[in-house]
Symmetry: C2
Subunit: 407 residues, 2 copies
């Protein structure tokens, strides 16, 4: 039996009040495997970038003060004592009134503070005539000017995308410490569903929810652990709940059955037992051995919806990942959408453009549940105190399609 | 030497004119592994959902016509001939003036066309009194009413997210045909860069571009194949180009060197040789043995930018994936941003909120290249004929940070 229904907001608060975000620990990942993982510590640069003073032009390294009196009419003569190619270090340091030839990108010899470009000098044998008064630092890319050794370059909690992976490579880091991936048990309870690959009994359907929810877990950075379909008897349910909380960090169950809810309550604490939402009224949440257990509907759209509204942020938090709400787009209601009195109502919609190029949110007929899932782009929320949303009214459509492959 | 610069749009057209999207072939993927893959064929339902007519209530299955004369005062008597539990098929068909007891979710016996709920009947032994005139189809979920066998449920080209994976599971499909993942060779040419894990020579830096670009390839659904750092001599470059086009579907090279461009031209056809953009002027594109070869800058931001503007859509197309532009957000310029005369200019920016809660796009100083990559959220585009964008002007910021982990 479902207890007194909580409102949507009360249910949210009840869930928040009963869980703490737990640090699951960190692990090493090699660089490309760290893509889309979350840094578990600040990354401090182990080196200066560039690691030496280098020349940005082909020319001559010298001491700026030696060229102070030079101008186009009165060049200053210096003695060329060597040459530095790319990848080399100068054998000798530069001393007063000397110059050393350098290639573009070459390391400056010790003692030099400027590079004069080849077009501003004339050379004959080992004598260089410098025609400009150079300013210290000119044509020099200074050691550490890009990134200094010891500074924090990336921060704990950052998700590693292409820029961040590039930065880690620039630091020479071949592996990096990342947050562990939360393991999320996914299972269905009930004799009307069958695991894929097994023959269907009359009236049974395949366990689609476990697959849509497993994928949704992956989308939030979790690893789904599918525990299969469990018959709806108390002993079997209690056993799988114990297994689930002992072997994973969080549990997502497809069952709107009050017997299942009471088993969860006997093993831990039922903190939500029915929510004034439509669809998804028979949603319950328990804490068992400190682990959150979300019991969602068998209705495929309701299960996915309730996952995104209630469970999703816990997968993200357990993974140290920034929490993100579902994206929404603004559209115009194509038909009147009715709410269920007193409940926060979510209407599945399909998006399309009309002849005026307006984005239209058309409510689905909801004749069938699988076809809804195949056809829906997202859903429109109607508040508890609204009766309906009228045709042509502007609506926000929360998108749960197309979370995959966004880049 | 770089040839006559093409404008941004000319370069786009030149690339388009010289490549055809190639079908790379398809492969089987097991269901959860198919997440974020692209369907290579329409999926036709192999079954009806539901697969039988089932009852949506607990009650009695009968022929509607037998109850036609019933009302609250004058019930119609029928003979109860059996019972059907969930998961069972009725042993006998239902004939005229009979009723068979059914559980919620049970399969309707052959011959029955309606279910009358338990509260609308009275039963004594095997005699049932029906108090309502039932309408055929009432309380029945018809076979195929959700999804009909033989209909196209998902279409070739759809990216498989949580809804689609759920739908495939509902159809009982444990594996599915998906487009092959395009293999993209990634390499750097030049003696100033070093592969990670090798010691840096003086003046060298680690090959960050290969890593940021490899990750960007993954973000677009490709598989990067890192071919390492190749010295900039003609024979070595020609050899690696041949290896790359023979072993992968597309090539991304970090090198702005005209020698490299001319080697590419000698092996195939150089279709872009310098673009009037800043940064990224020294970008070239060739076709070698029918494969696109993108030669991008060594400058990390320019390389990533040019990848997204030129190469990205080819990775998506080769993978049969819908092409998507980079996402953009609207912001306000925090400082004046200058363009390079006659070039399409891209200014790296950092996003932040000001005290009025406006989203501000602040141009980076661009003192250093790696730190830019660590600090930039995206870039602002300035058209060729604009001189600058002024403070407080509204701008669109193209985002290349945060493509990972969006869900």
């Amino acid at each position: 039996m479902i207890g007194k229904l909580l409102t949507f907001e009360e249910a949210k608060r009840a869930v928040e009040a009963n869980f703490k975000a737990v640090f699951l620990g960190e692990e090493e990942a090699v660089l490309l495997e760290a893509y889309n993982r979350v840094l578990s510590e600040d990354v401090v640069s182990p080196l200066d970038i560039p690691s030496f003073n280098t020349s940005t032009v082909a020319g001559y390294a010298l001491k700026a003060e030696d060229s102070a009196m030079a101008n186009e009419d009165e060049p200053v003569p210096l003695k060329v004592t060597g040459v530095v190619a790319i990848g080399e270090l100068s054998k000798a340091a530069l001393t007063k009134e000397e110059a050393i030839e350098v290639a573009t990108g070459a390391v400056l010899p010790e003692g030099a503070d400027v590079v004069v470009a080849a077009e501003d000098v004339e050379r004959e044998d080992n004598t260089l005539q410098v025609y400009i008064a150079a300013v210290a630092g000119e044509n020099v890319r200074k050691q550490g000017s890009d990134i200094k050794k010891g500074v924090v370059v990336l921060k704990k909690g950052q998700v590693l995308g292409s820029s961040e992976i590039g930065v880690l490579a620039a630091l020479g880091l071949t592996q990096v410490k990342v947050e562990k991936i939360p393991m999320v048990a996914v299972l269905s309870i009930g004799c009307e569903v069958s695991e894929l690959g097994k023959p269907l009994s009359p009236g049974e359907s395949f366990d689609l929810n476990a697959y849509s929810l497993s994928t949704a877990v992956m989308e939030c950075g979790g690893k789904p652990v599918y525990l299969g379909v469990v018959p709806d008897d108390k002993a079997a349910v209690a056993k799988i709940f114990r297994t689930a909380v002992n072997s994973t960090d969080m549990v997502v169950v497809c069952s709107g059955d009050s017997v299942v809810f009471s088993v969860a309550d006997s093993l831990g604490k039922l903190v939500v037992n029915g929510i004034a939402v439509k669809p998804g009224k028979q949603t319950a949440v328990a804490v068992i051995e400190g682990k959150p257990v979300f019991m969602l509907s068998h209705n495929p759209s309701a299960a996915l919806l309730m996952y995104h509204l209630f469970a999703r942020s816990f997968v993200q938090r357990l993974g140290g990942r920034p929490q993100s709400a579902l994206k929404s787009v603004s559209a115009v209601a194509g038909s009147r959408m009715f709410s269920a009195k007193g409940s926060r109502t979510f209407v599945m919609v399909k998006l399309m453009f009309d002849e005026k190029c307006r984005l239209i949110a058309e409510p689905l007929e909801s004749v069938g549940v699988v076809s809804d899932l195949a056809g829906a782009d997202g859903f429109v929320e109607i508040a508890e105190n609204e009766q309906f949303i009228d045709v042509d009214q502007e609506v926000a459509v929360l998108l749960f399609r197309g979370l995959a492959g966004k880049a």
